[in-house]
């Protein structure tokens, strides 16, 4: 177990380095985009004085390195800072502005992040069991019509762009047969059931996008094992094919399956940008798009850190589980 703890620490350390690199890259990328917050927010009214006034207020005049280190200093103290939008509003309305209206980056992110996690959870609860069951069935009846059908349909949905999948679902489930709402504008006061119903269409879209990967990995991992001698032994004992797969093949195929599930869970958190925009779902992806549009760097940075952290943590979890599920790795010589 000590070895596992060491691995975790090691990986967490590397994760921090990755986050740092990501933040530098994002900062540089956003700065390289044409236009800045002052120009974006003023639009056609971007006269030179107004742009200069906002840049002055927000410290956009400072050189990028100084701005980055300021931001990094805040992060190290656990302070995500104040969004440009908020800072700009405060400079209009005075100090009291923070009592209402737009809060700090952390306050702005919190409800959005919860919404995104809720969507990811709903999508995961639907997609993970479906993919596993489909994968096992496809392995069991491999090369049958069923296998082909499942493969073709899941591959089709993963190969289509997300917004297209979303529009197809809207067409069939909201416009032609109005069973689900096409607008997923959930908010805090909503009851759980209402929230769940509003979240279903985006969750189904994400399900269609991630199922193929998990299902095919399950199928491949199991089929890979079916050629092993111990499976042949089990079959020779006269165990039914379904039992062979579920009790003998599946436990040994878990490592790659867990890996791919974790990867897809990470995608459910980070890949929601387009889906949230199409369904007007107030999650972190929508906030991200809004913030990039107005070049609100503190918010963009915070969103990216969350996305990167989700990937790093879920990958770490995947590795740990695959170690734990493999006795050879659990007890290294």
């Amino acid at each position: 177990m000590k070895a596992v703890a060491l691995i975790i620490l090691n990986r967490l350390g590397l994760g921090l380095v990755t986050l740092f690199v990501v933040s530098v890259l994002i900062f540089a990328a956003v700065n390289m985009l044409p236009g800045d917050f002052a120009q974006a927010i003023l639009g056609q009214g971007a006269t030179e004085e107004a742009v200069a006034a906002i840049r002055e207020d927000l410290g956009l005049n400072k050189n990028p390195v100084a701005r980055y280190t300021d931001w990094l200093g805040g992060i190290l103290k656990g302070d995500f800072g104040v969004s440009f939008a908020q800072a700009n509003f405060s400079s209009f309305a005075g100090e009291d502005a923070s009592k209402g209206g737009i809060g700090s980056v952390a306050a702005q992110l919190e409800p959005r992040f919860k919404n995104t996690l809720f969507l990811a959870a709903v999508a995961a609860i639907i997609s993970v069991p479906i993919s596993l069951i489909l994968g096992i069935m496809a392995a069991l009846y491999r090369n049958s019509i069923f296998d082909r059908f499942v493969n073709v349909s899941t591959l089709t949905s993963i190969s289509s762009p997300e917004f297209f999948v979303a529009y197809v679902l809207i067409l069939f489930l909201a416009v032609l047969n109005p069973v689900l709402p096409s607008l997923s504008n959930i908010f805090a006061e909503m009851s759980f059931t209402e929230r769940l119903i509003k979240t279903l269409l985006p969750a189904l879209t994400l399900t269609l996008v991630v199922t193929a990967h998990m299902m095919r990995m399950t199928r491949a991992a199991i089929i890979n094992l079916l050629a092993s001698p111990y499976i042949e032994m089990a079959r020779l004992k006269g165990i039914k094919p379904a039992r062979v797969i579920v009790f003998h093949a599946l436990p040994n195929a878990l490592a790659p399956i867990i890996n791919v599930i974790a990867l897809n869970l990470a995608y459910l958190v980070t890949g929601v940008v387009v889906v949230e925009v199409v369904f007007v779902y107030p999650g972190i992806g929508q906030l991200f798009v809004d913030s990039v549009k107005i070049r609100d760097i503190p918010v963009v940075q915070a969103c990216c850190l969350i996305f990167a952290a989700a990937y790093i943590l879920l990958n770490l979890t995947a590795d740990i589980f695959s170690i734990l599920s493999n006795p050879r790795l659990r007890h290294p010589k």
């Binding site: 985009l33 044409p34 236009g35 800045d36 120009q39 974006a40 927010i41 003023l42 639009g43 056609q44 009214g45 971007a46 006269t47 107004a50 742009v51 006034a53 906002i54 207020d57 969004s83 440009f84 939008a85 700009n88 509003f89 400079s91 209009f92 309305a93 005075g94 100090e95 009291d96 502005a97 923070s98 009592k99 209402g100 209206g101 737009i102 702005q108 529009y167 809207i170 909201a174 416009v175 109005p178 709402p181 096409s182 607008l183 504008n185 908010f187 006061e189 925009v277 199409v278 369904f279 007007v280 107030p282 929508q286 906030l287 809004d290 913030s291 549009k293 107005i294 609100d296 918010v299």
Partner: protein, 513 residues
Amino acid sequence: MNITRRDVLKAGAAATALSLMPTIPAHSMPKKGGRLRLGLDGSNTSDSWDSRTHSDIFMILSGHGTVFDCLTEIAADGQLTGELAESWDSDDAKTWVFNLRKGVTFHNGKSFGADDVIESLQLHVAEGAKSAAQPIVSNISEMKKMNEHQVQLVLDKGNADFPFLMSDYHICMFPAGQIPEAMANGIGTGLYAVQSFDPGVRLVTKRYADHYKGDGVGHFDEVEVIAINDTAARMNALMTGQVDAVNRVDFNTEPLLRANPNLGIFEVTGNQHYTFPMLSKTAPFHDNNVRQALKHAINRQEMVDKILQGHGQVGNDHPIGPANQYHFSDLPQTEYDPDKARSLLSKAGLSELNVDLSASNAGFPGAVDAAQLYQASAKAAGININVVQEPADGYWSNVWLKKPWCACYWSGRTTEDWMFSTAYEAGVPWNDSEWDHPRFQELLYKGRVELDSDKRRAIYHEMQMILNQEGGVIVPMFASYVGASSTGLANNGTIGNTWMMDNARMAERWWFA
């Protein structure tokens, strides 16, 4: 010289040349109640109740159209009426006295009075303020409280249209002494009080009981404004009945909306226009023959048909639209005429012309396509337009006012003087054609203080003609405001055309039939 409120109103009555297409059934008896759900674009997480920063429909409708009020209001038929001001008066267009409505309270219970007006106006000229209404307010040299319900505003330069300017959606009235709080929480005097506001997501408001406007308006119990920036999502939300009305209808899916018996389109042509401004002091645009040649090399009807898909009308190279009082509708239309363009070019001593046209869809929706249409139609006149696709980001800072020729849009202004002094007066920051014409300038100053309606008409007609024949801005088209709503919604049959969504006042003027 004597101007009364009645004169101003009379002038306003002339502005009722509205091109309405009411497909929504109009019922004479409004019904009370219900929750209006609007799906609007133009929202962002940076939105706030600071009306000085409002620039797009989401906050314009939520702000001055729902939660806040201005001193004056432009009615659906284009006439100027009082909102928080009951009446106003001036003897010389310079000293204006506004009589304020009595018994008005803010949503937090504070009563409205002269101090609120003065403090709200001063917001726009405060040190470092970035208000879009700054040019209007900075013309006020003296603000004086006569008594609790009367203010006197003395202007630096006289302006006969001043009461019109006080209806600008930036100039909302805030409670004096509590402005930061009011801006943070949205405390106004409007028909609806804020229940919850999540910037970039949604606004929920509730009808303010015992409102000073009475029971004749503001028929809904609640109004919910939902931010739907994605066009397809907005159209879907309307088609699946999750919102009652949407703005900026997508022309590609419009036939589907029309085919749906439960939905109706409402369309008005106002002052919103798309332009191609040329820097008229920069070669080759400093030669009027070149400018005129370019005006004759554009096929305006084709633009209206293909870029606006019929939702608009051709422009005549001046910014005064059908929602203005003194629109010169008899001004001869500049037509597409390659031969004439060619002969104008040879007058300028050129056998052919090569020019760059900078365009991006940030300029106006479809600007790049429009530039390419222009390129094709101009070719026949020996004009080679090189369309330069500019990035949408930073377009207004890096291209507009900087590149010699580009694409641009204007939402228009309610008064001629306001429009001209925003973009055509010599030396103003938004003069995007470097326009400096002695006669035009003289007329501008004359019209500003002229109180006689007929004389003003003559002045503004001449100004439109000057722009048509010499101006540096090509105005190929006026774009309609196209919205859609469920047939469950009704209005009195007249839809305002100074801004989209019934002058952004659907919450006030519509009801559930």
